[in-house]
Symmetry: C2
Subunit: 495 residues, 2 copies
């Protein structure tokens, strides 16, 4: 089309003029494999033929999508808050009504439809502080340090944004575990911060290794200014639960090197191994004494999306900050206020999670039953996943101690590696694509999370129902064996 001076009107936004930081972002959990799985699903619905009748999505920690039922009490409270006329109805228990009334009291005009303060509804922040004190056996929590967020994602991105500055060698460096949850690498690219990889110790159940932290830090110091260390515990994608000793070492290291600590604890309720226990970074810091507790800057993150409730769609979450400079705190509130507030229904959901029915309340029994059922099933599936995967030649899976994922190492034959290289894709991507095409199973290649060079993995969730998960694992085993055979039996490439 002809514009000014008879020129064609060009697109103003193309791949060439797109923000290069946006281009640099990668986010595998919803990457090409997932798009392809969606296409296949639609194809199946329209009668297309595939060697399977159903796509099984084990690519994302999305409990309800995999059939988990909502916790009744939580949904009752949210429904009551959404339509307060129900407060007069006899179909809801009193404890749900009491929670809803309290939340609505905290909302402008007593409506979920008002913007809350940018930091969140006051009484919900107070409930969260009480929850944290109980969780941490009395370590004090101040609700002034609590910020509601739009899922944990929003909190993580906001804190990172505060910490990024400088140019060249003084550019902020962010230490993240490898393998990591790719929100971290995506946010780091978007902000042009420097990603500093520290590798988790696969041979030691994905433990944090303090020597590796030192190595990564020292190497990074040559070309950037390391300012923050991120830890995911329990781990995504790796499913480990860090020991108290590991956490102490990290905190000591952060203290010594003046690093800000971000502890992603969205899986704090997802611990399955009887030998493991969740230790909050905050509690460990407290126990290290006031010299640590009163100085180390810490932000920890929680979410409605995980745990036993699995309420991802509500986009609820909170963060607690410790030892944040007062002026910086005001800046954080200002930054958050630009987007006005986190969804108030998500805040309400968060409130229920931190303030569930007590033993003397009418909803306690049902709540307790539902919660135990979810966590019990997850524990069972965690074990089953590890067991079955470890029966497959060429697959090695660490115990799934917590979170919702297994991240097994897979052996990919050299011929398959070569083939993938010639296709310009990573070998585990090729593996996952073929798995999807041949079995309908949707996993995420390890390369989307990061892994030591020359090693290959995939991440799978343990969220499908026990039956479906068993089918998945068996199909996966058969596929893997076939895959190994196929590439083993191929002749040497012709020269």
């Amino acid at each position: 089309m002809a514009g000014k001076n008879g020129k064609m009107r060009e697109k103003s936004l193309t791949m060439d003029t797109l923000n290069p930081q946006v281009k640099a972002v990668e986010y595998a959990v919803r990457g090409p494999i997932v798009t392809k799985a969606g296409d296949i699903e639609r194809g199946l619905q329209q009668g297309q033929k595939h060697p399977f009748t159903e796509v099984i999505k084990a690519n994302i920690g999305d409990s309800h999508a995999m059939g988990q039922k909502p916790i009744t009490f939580l949904r009752q409270v949210v429904a009551l808050c959404s339509f307060p006329e129900l407060l007069d109805s006899s179909i809801f228990p009193d404890d749900a009504k009491q929670r809803a009334r309290r939340i609505l009291q905290g909302c402008g005009g007593q409506s979920l439809g008002s913007y809350s303060a940018s930091q969140g509804v006051d009484c919900i922040r107070q409930d969260i502080a009480v929850y944290i004190e109980q969780r941490d056996k009395g370590v004090p929590a101040d609700w002034d340090n609590i910020y509601l967020t739009t899922g944990a994602s929003d909190g993580i991105v906001s804190i990172l944004k505060m910490l990024v500055s400088g140019q060249g060698r003084s550019r902020s460096g962010v230490m993240i575990p490898i393998p990591q949850y790719p929100l971290y690498s995506a946010a780091i690219s978007e902000m042009e911060a420097v990603q500093i990889n520290y590798y988790l110790d696969e041979d030691n159940c994905w433990a944090l290794d303090i020597n590796e932290l030192h190595r990564a830090y020292q190497a990074a110091k040559e070309h950037c200014h390391p300012r923050v260390i991120c830890i995911i515990n329990p781990g995504n994608p790796t499913g480990q639960v860090q020991s108290k000793k590991c956490i102490e070492e990290v905190l000591h290291f952060a203290y010594e090197e003046n690093l800000f600590v971000m502890s992603d604890e969205v899986y704090q309720d997802n611990v399955y191994s009887p030998d493991c226990q969740f230790h909050s970074f905050k509690k460990v810091l407290y126990e290290m004494g006031p010299e640590y507790f009163n100085t180390v800057e810490l932000a920890s993150f929680h979410s409605t999306s995980k745990g036993y409730s699995g309420e991802c769609g509500f986009r609820g979450g909170y963060m607690e900050v410790l030892n944040l400079d007062l002026e910086v705190k005001a800046q954080l509130v200002k930054l958050l206020s630009v987007r006005l507030c986190p969804p108030v229904s998500g805040q309400a959901a968060m409130d229920v999670i931190v303030n569930p029915p007590l033993p003397h309340e009418p909803s306690y029994l049902q709540f307790h039953k539902e919660k135990s059922a979810v966590l019990g099933a997850l524990a069972e599936k965690a074990q089953m996943t590890e067991q079955i995967l470890n029966t497959v030649p060429g697959i090695k899976c660490n115990p799934v101690q917590g979170a919702m994922y297994a991240f097994p190492r897979i052996f990919i034959p050299p011929r398959a590696v070569e083939e993938a290289m010639s296709l310009g894709i990573s070998p585990d991507m090729m593996y996952c694509l073929r798995l999807l095409e041949e079995t309908g199973i949707c996993l995420v290649p390890g390369s989307g999370f990061g892994q030591r060079e020359g090693t290959y993995h995939f991440r799978m969730t343990i969220l499908p129902t026990t039956e479906k998960l068993k089918v998945l694992l068996e199909k996966l085993r058969d596929f893997h064996i076939k895959f190994l055979k196929e590439y083993a039996s191929l002749e040497e490439p012709k020269r």
Copy 2:
């Protein structure tokens, strides 16, 4: 505290090491005046004495907080989606149940608790496309171009983020109206883009002036690369509704200068003046012919927060994009996927707004009554605000044609201006602070939105109830007269 080598552990995050772009952000709608209003409110509750008994907040477009009741039908649908057991209850009308069933069908595991696709729930996107086609009298809308967002704020920030690139003279420039809604300036600072101000024509009811656009563009071209023009229609903070002719001129200009167009149409349902009508940028573009409609890149934004529903807390919204390059579209989806998805309950609320009860459905009458009551009251208050303000000497207020705000020009005596300068604050900030302290009325100074140098304004919402608004306007009048007298009667400053 002593760290490594006996050094004290310093804070890693201070005002000196904070991201300078975060520091640069300003957001007056929740700025110091609002903080102060909160302090006074708490003081009043604790029995502190003030020359008033109540703080009246007219600082933010937050309808429910100001007493507006939710639309029953919308809340019924959200409650049904939140707690689907209610689908069996006889207390809800069938049309609400039908809407809820349809939304749940579109959710993974039929639960509001699943992550939706990053672009939003398919059937909701389809409903939005149908709504847009109806609104625009048949102009085609493709649901592939619809993206659900976390409030309009999220969509606006995401599109801006795509468009920011380059360094120095090739850095992206973003044209925004002055006065503006400060989300724009805040996002521009945060992304280190270049803000290009074009001034709305106060003497002409805050109309867009094409000559001013040319002036601003030509001047900016010298030091940056103007890439995008933002328009807010109906206007915040200025309350005007742009004519079709103005919109045509803007679109022609954008076509000629190869600019991306962002049209913020969150107040599309808020038009009060009988002589005004809402024209969507998309429809006007369509009517300019295929040469325009098939080329100009446009993103338009809508929200659950405004209109007649005023559901701010749900953080619902959508954007429609036109003529976006296909690869860029994939990049946009990738960018959105990092934060997983917009709140699904907000998506549900958006669905009800675009798909309200039809005349033959059981909820129609009540819905229609509620909607008309809200919009009728706003129209009345818009007129009353303009009228009363224009009776005050030294205040001049344009007609409040739409949106929810008046942005009157106020005369501030030179002595008051000097006093403010000596205090290091803007004169309208001093004015609003004194207004708050003396009357309990909370407004936002014009300087928070931008204004021509040497002119002063404030923004007030028309959201308080009619009675309260009348009280507010009368108190404001008395304050203003007193303020003028006080500074007029002061002697010349001593030298």
